[in-house]
């Protein structure tokens, strides 16, 4: 690690299982974003070791993806954002798997809701949990649509940016969110049953 890397504790990235080293620019991403991912982990009650493990696996995966498809490097538009979002998703999945630990953003919190419904009026903490839960499961395209909408882009602008029509973007987005919401509800129902069977 360079001397000027002053985050506490420093992040150490080991070569992947195959012995291949992580690319230097991906390592730079890790250095730049370490404090950021650490803050996220700490704000959710986890320590740096968990954050480091998850970031390491995300970096290895990112590096592997970039090596395996050199031609599609352009697919990663912003590697900092890509790694960070990958970390957040993986970290939240990790949190969701933790048994009997109550934390914001966990599926366990969602289970306490009276059905996965979006109620009327101003958004509540339940809506926030659902939004975070949905983001964990969205496809990249739907997530991008969601981000554009969250940043105030109209459907017309969103459609233009995603190179489709406003109507098509809206229909695809709402359908996928509807499906994901239903999936979350089914998961919840199965976990609440003693047998754990999912009703179809």
């Amino acid at each position: 690690m360079p001397d000027d890397f002053k985050t506490d504790p420093p992040v150490w990235i080991w070569p992947s299982g195959s012995g291949t080293a992580v690319e230097p620019d991906v390592l730079d991403v890790a250095r730049r974003n370490w404090l950021r991912v650490l803050s996220y982990a700490r704000s959710h009650g986890e320590d740096s070791s968990v954050a480091a493990n998850i970031l390491e696996s995300v970096l290895l995966a990112t590096s592997r993806i970039r090596r395996s498809s050199e031609k599609s490097r352009n697919a990663i538009r912003n590697i900092d954002a890509y790694v960070y979002v990958g970390f957040v998703r993986k970290f939240n999945r990790y949190l969701a798997k933790q048994p009997k630990i109550q934390f914001v953003g966990s599926l366990h919190d969602v289970h306490t809701l009276h059905g996965i419904r979006i109620s009327r009026g101003a958004p509540t903490a339940e809506d926030e949990l659902l939004a975070k839960e949905l983001l964990q499961q969205m496809s990249q395209r739907t997530r991008r649509t969601f981000y554009l909408r969250a940043n105030g882009y109209s459907w017309k602008e969103t459609g233009r940016l995603l190179k489709t029509t406003a109507n098509s973007a809206q229909v695809l987005f709402n359908k996928e969110i509807g499906k994901l919401r239903s999936r979350i509800w089914k998961t919840k129902a199965s976990e609440q049953r003693p047998g754990g069977e999912v009703d179809e």
């Binding site: 538009r77 979006i118 009327r120 958004p123 809506d127 940043n151 509807g178 239903s182």
Partner: protein
């Protein structure tokens, strides 16, 4: 629950919930790692960034609370500015429309309805002698914007005349001044009078040569 798509209301609510999460600091970034500069954020807020660049930054923006806050402030400023612009433009449009309507009503429509009316008062001449003045019927006028031609009583001289419409002597509700000239051996006075706002009824038409005494003629406004 079925796989029914989100309604517009649900979508709006979900988006607002997420915005609240990000603004509340869900994604801290103490050293602002990978953040765009303020100019880029402002350009995004003002929708001046190229599509490709928007897609480059949108993921970061949505998962970085400091950037999202800054962007939201730029966006709010832009919306306020746009609202002020639209409001001032609307005020200008309303103002121009009001002026146009006023011009049309008062200057274009008005003269178009100017009606020529002639009143012959030559029979109202004060006669001397034992027979006196025979009772004369009142002058009748319709409400409107009138171009009034008065043939003054016989013996009237040309010159400057005051003309009034009064309810009672000394209480004019309309007055004007005009020059009487001889036309076909008659003293003729031309004035424009707007009687549209007066209610129908009995009035007096008063006229006098400057500094002379008034002559009153009964006037029925229909």
């Amino acid at each position: 629950m079925s796989d029914r798509p989100l309604t517009k209301r649900e979508e709006r609510r979900l988006i607002r919930a997420y915005r609240r999460v990000v603004l509340a600091g869900e994604f801290p970034n103490p050293n602002r790692a990978g953040c765009p500069d303020s100019k880029t954020l402002e350009a995004m807020a003002l929708r001046r960034l190229q599509s490709e660049q928007v897609l480059d930054w949108i993921e970061h923006l949505s998962t970085c609370s400091p950037c999202f806050r800054e962007y939201t402030e730029f966006r709010e400023d832009y919306k306020r500015l746009r609202f002020r612009r639209v409001a001032s433009m609307a005020a200008c449009v309303v103002g121009v429309a009001a002026v146009v309507v006023w011009l049309v009503v008062n200057h274009l429509v008005g003269p178009g309805h100017l009606q020529p009316v002639t009143i012959d008062l030559s029979s109202y001449a004060a006669l001397r002698g034992p027979e006196g003045n025979a009772p004369t019927p009142p002058v009748q006028l319709s409400k409107g914007y009138l171009n009034l031609t008065l043939y003054l009583p016989a013996g009237s001289e040309p010159g400057t005349y005051d003309v009034q419409v009064v309810r009672e002597p000394g209480q004019p509700i309309w007055s004007a001044q005009g020059q009487a000239t001889f036309e076909n051996y008659k003293a003729t006075l031309r004035v424009k009078v707007d009687l549209r706002r007066f209610s129908p009824g009995l009035y007096l038409l008063a006229f006098r040569r400057l500094d002379r005494s008034w002559t009153y003629i009964p006037l029925v406004l229909k």
